[in-house]
């Protein structure tokens, strides 16, 4: 008996290694067998085939492999429904059967879809239909999601259409493969081997994008390189476009404003110069010869050293409109970024985008969107919404979120960003019009813009798991879902994603979703609580460095942002300060201008407040600040416990990496907390509240740390 027990132990020790450990490559597109599938005799007994187009062929492949995998057996593929439970997909044009149904497709526009339980020839069937092939594709992924999450109802009647027209990933990928602010390895674009080698990964990228409704990809960095517009690189981009096209993903590029000089040999890039205009027109015509459905340009101009129209005493509208005019005949668009701050400006950096762009209201061509970051500075763990939202009703304003976690712990910190996105989208701009949320500005619904869009700075790289960590996949996923419908709740998205990506086991879903939902606030607490911002290390942005105050440009210094002194801390942006609050609508401005009405989680963003200021908790500001830092670390500790309790409910490969990363996160949260407290205490000269431990090291120790090879540098 004893001997047998030992052998059992030995056998367990030698348990088979699977051919490939689970590594996260499949994202949320997991079609492993579901015990509950098929849910009823009505569903998916057979698949009615169509390959009328490359897109419909892709729909067929996805449904056949997805449903076959989920059912644990191949789904019969037929030309005509032959029994109850047939699944049809397509458009009225691709299928006479679909054309014969009254589905109300006029409601769903060019990209929406209907999923409906119907009766065909007396037999129950399910139809996934769009007005276009790509509508059917989106519907197919919706249908698969229902099966994956065990949410497939008996009688289906789903109608969906995207609320923003452009749902784009922005890749800050350089032509040499480096990804600026990328924490998931090199760029997935292998420019050197393109156009000859089409990595199968490109197809999987397109599948993932389509599954969440993303319909465009800006392939190149906003810090642009004119080389991407040369024939050799256009040929490469065209090859990529060919892979992405069946999945409804259009290709966009970034336009370096000085390209007419660098590539064209012109003496100027002045947007009003006829030679420059002719050069761009010819270049754009050339691009469309390579990529007939090219989407257009994303432009960063006159910001952080990038060339732009101001180099020639022209304004942003002059620059954008020149490109827009040449793109218009091809139905191309310009996304002109509002992320600007001038090296010479003495004004509060938070005010500069609004100050530069508001005067241009009404002056942009019809096919121009102004792309605005969610907050006034730069993707901090928490910012108020940008005052541009609501301030330029005549101009389509595109939302720019950052999916990659430049300021929220790179790949190793677990921070689910949908609550951050949601907070920005749900913010009320305070305009007189009803329902004037940022979301309704961005969708164009508030101001009746036909053109609308949401961009996410991608967190995608060549790492096997795409995003550098398993939970960062959720941020890619959530971005797509919110771009399609900004009213879906971050909680619902988290649950959906967890079920698709990990498990439908309620004992797993509930605590893990809860952990995700609190994770962004944990980061805020241990990095930049109470409205603080921009306290990170110089250049690489890794780790805390609130003491930095000697960089050449004032607004590069953390000290510029926190303004801690013997009296207090915070940036006074009320009327007595920079009056950045005055850029908001009167109702919002009134709240932000008054420290008593400012939400405490933005207090130090808008106000310089005494260390002894009494907070709603009854604590002084100093004590409250320390309490937040402590709470942040404590939350991460709790996240670790939550995850460790899931051992056995998730595969060993992903479990181990998440565990290791959470350990890193706890270590780094402690480092952030300790370094910030050590520094702020050297200024506040106040004791730590009772029960709060002193920092582990001296302030000098934290200042001495150097990270020359931290990833993702600009």
């Amino acid at each position: 008996m004893k001997h047998r027990a030992l052998l059992a132990v030995l056998a367990a020790a030698f348990v088979y290694l699977p051919a490939h450990a689970e590594d996260g490559y499949d994202l949320w597109l997991r079609y492993g067998q579901q015990s509950s599938y098929p849910p009823s005799a009505e569903h998916s007994r057979e698949l009615v085939h169509s390959d009328a187009s490359p897109t419909l062929a892709a729909v067929g492949r996805e449904l056949a492999s997805g449903l076959g995998g989920l059912a644990g057996a191949p789904i019969p593929v037929v030309r005509e429904p032959s029994r109850p439970g047939a699944l049809l997909y397509g458009t009225p044009r691709s299928s006479a059967l679909i054309a014969g149904l009254s589905l109300g497709l006029e409601r769903v526009g060019p990209e929406g879809y209907v999923i409906r339980s119907v009766t065909l020839g007396g037999k129950a069937a399910t139809v996934i239909a769009g007005n276009t092939d790509v509508g059917a594709l989106y519907g197919a992924f919706h249908y698969l999601r229902l099966v994956q999450t065990r949410a497939l109802a008996q009688n289906l009647d789903i109608v969906s259409r995207p609320r923003t027209r452009l749902r784009l990933l922005n890749h800050w990928d350089n032509l040499d493969g480096h990804v600026e602010r990328g924490y998931a390895g090199q760029s997935i674009w292998d420019w050197h081997k393109l156009p000859d080698w089409l990595d199968p990964r490109y197809t999987d990228y397109a599948r993932a994008c389509a599954s969440i409704g993303i319909n465009g990809s800006v392939l190149t960095n906003v810090n642009a390189n004119a080389t991407s517009l040369t024939p050799a690189y256009l040929e490469k981009a065209a090859a990529l476009a060919g892979v992405l096209r069946p999945y409804g993903v259009r290709v966009y590029l970034t336009a370096r404003f000085s390209a007419p000089i660098e590539l064209g040999g012109l003496k100027t890039a002045d947007p009003l110069d006829p030679g420059v205009r002719a050069w761009w027109k010819a270049k754009i015509d050339e691009i469309y010869r390579y990529i007939p459905d090219f989407g257009g340009f994303l432009v960063k101009a006159n910001s952080e050293g990038q060339p732009g129209p101001q180099d020639y005493q022209r304004n942003h509208a002059d620059g954008a409109n020149m490109l827009a005019e040449a793109l218009a005949p091809h139905d191309g668009i310009v996304m002109w970024r509002a992320f600007v701050y001038a090296s010479s400006a003495t004004e509060d950096r938070a005010k500069q985008a609004h100050a530069e762009f508001l005067p241009l209201e009404g002056r942009f061509a019809k096919n121009v969107l102004v792309q605005v970051k969610n907050g006034p500075i730069d993707f901090q763990p928490r910012e108020p919404f940008s005052p541009l939202f609501g301030a330029m009703p005549k101009t389509p304003l595109m939302m720019e979120f950052q999916i990659t976690k430049e300021y929220l712990g790179f790949a190793t910190h677990l921070a689910y960003l949908a609550p951050l996105f949601e907070e920005a989208l749900d913010a009320d701009t305070g305009s007189a019009r009803k329902g004037s949320t940022v979301a309704r500005v961005v969708t164009g619904e508030l101001d009746q813009h036909e053109l609308s869009g949401m961009a996410g700075v991608a967190n995608i790289g060549a790492d096997r798991n795409w995003s550098g960590s398993h939970f960062d996949q959720a941020n890619w996923y959530a971005f797509g879902r919110l771009a399609w419908d900004p009213d879906v709740s971050s909680q619902a998205i988290a649950e959906e994603w967890v079920r698709m990506t990990f498990s439908n086991d309620p004992a797993f879903v509930q605590p893990v979703v809860e952990m995700m939902m609190g994770s962004r606030e944990a980061v805020v607490d241990y990095m930049t609580p109470l409205g603080l911002a921009h306290l990170m290390g110089t250049g690489h942005h890794y780790g805390p460095a609130p003491w930095v105050s000697d960089l050449s440009r004032p607004e590069w210094n953390p000290a510029y942002y926190h303004r801690a002194d013997a009296n207090g801390i915070g940036f006074e942006r009320g009327p007595k300060g920079s009056n950045a609050t005055g850029q908001y609508s009167p109702r919002v401005a009134a709240a932000f201008a008054d420290p008593k009405k400012t939400p405490e989680n933005l207090l130090l963003w808008f106000h310089h407040v005494s260390w002894d200021h009494k907070m709603s908790s009854g604590r002084t500001l100093w004590d409250e600040l320390v309490t937040h830092y402590d709470r942040g670390v404590g939350k991460v500790r709790q996240m670790r416990l939550t995850w460790e309790a899931q051992s056995g409910r998730v595969d060993a490969g992903r479990f181990a990496q998440v565990s290791a990363f959470l350990a890193i996160q706890e270590k780094e949260a402690q480092w952030w907390r300790d370094a910030c407290i050590a520094y702020f205490q050297s200024i506040s000269k106040r004791p730590l509240p009772v029960g709060s431990a002193p920092p582990a090291h001296s302030l000098d120790y934290y200042k001495s740390l150097k990270f020359p090879y931290a990833p993702g540098r600009g």
Copy 2:
């Protein structure tokens, strides 16, 4: 009937996508079910377990998963043999049963092994035994290889020991993740997340190395960075060492010679300065506190801008011996590279290593090896062997091969390098002593050196398939096998690798091995035939640029090497020229000095020869040169046909990538051929031989091509 046929077609179109397409991650360690396994009742009916050490635990895991996979069913794991066909592994110390057998282990040294069919208690059994755990590990991989290649004999009696002591990969990997001359993505070392996150890939790297006998890894680039010697990075290296240790792979680092200045704040790095010596001693003692079995340093000094002892008027031996003295108490070694060429030198570059190092013969400390590239210049498609081999009998000379294909087409050209390695190892140095091949110099057998070694510059990166292409895995494999035994034939290694990596099907093995065996000569033909060298593009080394002659250092220019003029082509290195031939032993020198005795495949390396020189074929040199270029392109065309005929005998994933890369190779072979012929014809002014097509473009076109983002730059 017609309807049924259509459905069959449809079903085929929707064939399941496997969860993961075959992507090459498993290298040659493939344990898929073999129909012929087990080959007889004598073999592997059960596995007698031992986990007396982490290494033996690894042996057990590898045998259990390997044999279980190959058999298609788990192998019973037991503590004692219980039936005929038991497989035992270990050492006389780990196993009383092994200790009781008379295996002749005294013959196999510390790393060798015996695999023997024996009788234990009247039952047939197989024993894999070494004097050390790692010996047993090497034996286990040998045993698995026999099963994988269907070469397991009924009665086994295998004795093997490595012929070189140090069998090392040199990673030219920077701390920021860039791999110099790497064509397989970023570095696999994720320095930023070390020591906290131990990527499972590190273990698979160690398994792959151990499977071919590689016992050391230089983690960092020879163009060294002192930061790798700081405590933070030593902690990271120690974490890696912990993963590699059970697999017998020791960790080495590169030492930046100026580290005492950069890290220690000293004013000098003079190797005879007492402060410098004390700094290195303390640093080395510190390293051993982190990594108790640290292997030692690889040093590139006074070469291509790297600091070194000559900066202080000391010589290479002074520098090497200083480090060696501090390493000796820990049994560490120094590998001092002979790859030197001075910016000021006016001498033939091919002569410089010999000229600098020969005077130092006998002056190196006991624990120093001088690491010599196979040829006198720099890893060209063909070079003669370096004249240092055979010239320094008192000094252990370590071979440095380049596995990464810096000069042989990066990742996309199929070039099996074992014939290149073999050609160098088999070369006769011509010394008076018998059997004086380069191989026997390198193994130390010729000069009775206990210390010996072979280094390969790794072709490994984060690409899923490790090496950037499937066939480049064979070069990693072959390097390891030749380092273990330089007498194994390149053909035998190719066959072994093909069987393990792809298929045992003779219809696949024979043509694919033949294709591999001819592939390096194809590259020689379309890039640098007849002894030409160094004709590639500047900096990135991508593509042809024989016309370049304006770089600041003469020996950076292709024109320096080919010396084509109106009369002829080639570098005169005989007595009337640079007399580089005089660096070889008299017998070899006599052959190389005389154009009539020089092998034609090295003719232009050693001689400037008239365009009208009559070759053995009867053709003029000019016609012969063009014929070689044509032949190279033709061979690649033939390789494509060979591969296309294998469709269906190999998985679709790897088949497609190899196909695509061969198409790139043909395109680039044509480009090399056309550009070189266009250029050389502009000098030779001779017509192309009948039947040879003119270049597709003008010489100016080829000169105009620019590749600013070609991968792998230094």
